[in-house]
Symmetry: C2
Subunit: 338 residues, 2 copies
DNA sequence: TTGAAAGCGCTAACAT
DNA sequence: ATGTTAGCGCTTTCAA
């Protein structure tokens, strides 16, 4: 049986009220009893029953975070970031996977049932009628990460995806590339935004856009590496080969680099590469790969801070939108590992 | 304000008891009222206050899982596995990162405070006085994953780490390798166990052990790839080069393969490789890499089932130890991607 | 400085 | 088939 306030009270011949006060740091208790209580509580290894406390106070000091899947390192970064910004305020975090959105509604119900003080949702898909209804009827603060739901009220923290494409492209242009290929991602809104950024960077620099240098690399078949490799081979067989390549993921970029080496190209003399995601393990393989970092950690931190503000009793009721800027991570380029 | 039992009761002129019964599926209610209640509850979007329910029943239907870090895909797999096995029993899962054990105690306190019905702990380090104390005083079922704590009572689910080394080595032997190198991992108990398995497999097959073919590859400096690459170069410069290489991680193995190709060796004709971890993205790069899979998902499932048994009211009070067998994933070997 | 009473929302165990 | 009473462990409020 866990130790309760009542138990400590009985042992020390005090009322449980006094114990409660001491343990929460109220000041209207004599130093003497305070010391006694603290010591006994420690000895007995008292842990307050948070369930009971929450029922009484209406605050659980738990925030809920729903991610599409566990074990994706990007979502892990987000979770870490959220934790980091809320823990010092005494909040805990419950992380639930939505199985790529399939179980999103159930998880939301679960977390709301558990009375979380704020709900953070990392979503891939756009809109959902469910969300709209939810955000109308619900008093629990809602924070959307990554994608906003059309028509849903709630705050939003996201990556400026267009910048991801823009920065990558600008980097290559800065290195002197003129014919830039894009191994582009899926036709989701994220994929499209990055693509738009790529196009914008080209036109900002007054460079021509070459449709034949855009390759889809997110089909379901084959590994990412292979899709990069195959896509690059196709590009190299065509006329007018690229002198710069950007890819939707780092592993795709590695594939394209290998294909280029296979064709006898020299990196970086005749062709340059940039990935996205900044997956360090992958970027630090045989040829160091520069990459545009999607800062999951910062995303999480910002979202966490927003959740705090909304959950606090400060009466802050508004919602806000914040975009996090992606960051280029440059890596030295050497021909072969030494 | 969220809807409460009392609200529905007032609206329908019933007692909250009746509402409670209907919503929990008790049978001693007339079909008529049952229908009325169900409908109104749905309309109002009633969500039971789990906090209150838990306080009353003493069960939270939440399990806690502590992992060293979020975003490591292995731990993600474990979490998925746990979820999968407990969700159908109505349990939810709270996942907390321990920042590589640094905040282990605080997270444990937090979760116990939250009255989780069972606590699963993925740990890297051995022993800890804290654990021993905990397991003695605590009534909450404890399940350790990966590493057991010396002297701690609680169930244990782990990988048979010795088999990881054994299987990898046996695989190479089966392919005809006689001089097998090991790019070994850190000098933790896991690293040592795998190493022991490697040695055992050699001696089972009557092959000589060559100490000069064992290389440390888990130092802190340089990427895993680089450590594999450099380690392999050293081996190839030495006399009596290996004809089979096993590595503590897949990325290390890729590094060793590259170094070998650089030296003009042919894979698999003159040398064969096997990794561990079965990181699919990495294994399916230019040269498909066979790897010993550490089945995080199965680990999680087993741990989840054990947690269910221990948390259930079945009165099961014992503890058990289970070892999960690692599994070799063979991949076809081609010289270069086509 | 200490404590008694009341109640958060729910349900187990009993009436009716 | 429906409702009453009591209480889970805690904290808010107010009194001693």
């Amino acid at each position: 049986m866990p130790v309760r306030l009542k138990d400590i009270a009985a042992e020390l011949n005090l009322s449980k009220m006094t114990i409660s006060k001491v343990l929460r740091g109220q000041t209207d208790v004599s130093e003497h009893t305070k010391a006694r209580v603290l010591q006994r509580a420690r000895e007995l290894n008292y842990r307050p029953n948070t369930t009971a406390r929450s029922l009484r106070t209406g605050q659980t000091f738990i925030m809920g975070l729903i991610v599409p899947s566990m074990g994706d390192s990007h979502f892990g970064d987000v979770a870490q970031g959220v934790m980091q910004s809320i823990r010092s305020a005494g909040y805990g975090l419950v992380v639930c996977p939505s199985q790529d959105e399939e179980e999103l509604e159930q998880q939301i119900d679960l977390l709301l049932s558990r009375q979380v003080d704020a709900l953070l949702i990392v979503s891939l898909e756009e809109s959902a009628a469910f969300m709209e209804r939810l955000s109308k009827e619900q008093t629990t603060p809602l924070i959307f990460i990554n994608r906003r739901f059309a028509g849903a009220a709630g705050s939003f923290v996201g990556i400026d995806e267009e910048q991801v494409g823009h920065i990558a492209c600008k980097h290559l242009i800065g290195l002197g590339s003129k014919r830039i290929a894009y191994l582009r991602g899926p036709h989701t809104s994220i994929g499209d935004l990055r693509y738009a950024g790529f196009r914008a960077a080209l036109s900002d620099a007054g460079l021509a856009f070459h449709p034949e240098l855009v390759v889809d690399a997110m089909g379901a078949e084959g590994s990412e590496y292979r899709r990069g490799f195959d896509g690059m081979e196709r590009l190299l067989k065509g006329r007018g080969r690229p002198d710069g390549v950007m890819a939707y993921s780092d592993m795709i970029a590695v594939g394209t680099m290998d294909a280029s080496l296979n064709h006898g190209l020299r990196i970086p003399e005749s062709i340059r590469f940039v990935g996205s995601g900044n997956d360090v393990k992958v970027c630090e393989m045989r040829i160091p790969l520069s990459s545009v970092a999607i800062q999951g950690h910062e995303l999480g931190q910002k979202a966490g801070r927003m959740a705090l503000r909304m959950a606090g009793k400060s009466g802050f009721k508004g919602t806000r939108k914040v975009l996090v800027m992606p960051q280029l991570v440059e890596r030295g380029i050497r021909l072969r590992p030494r």
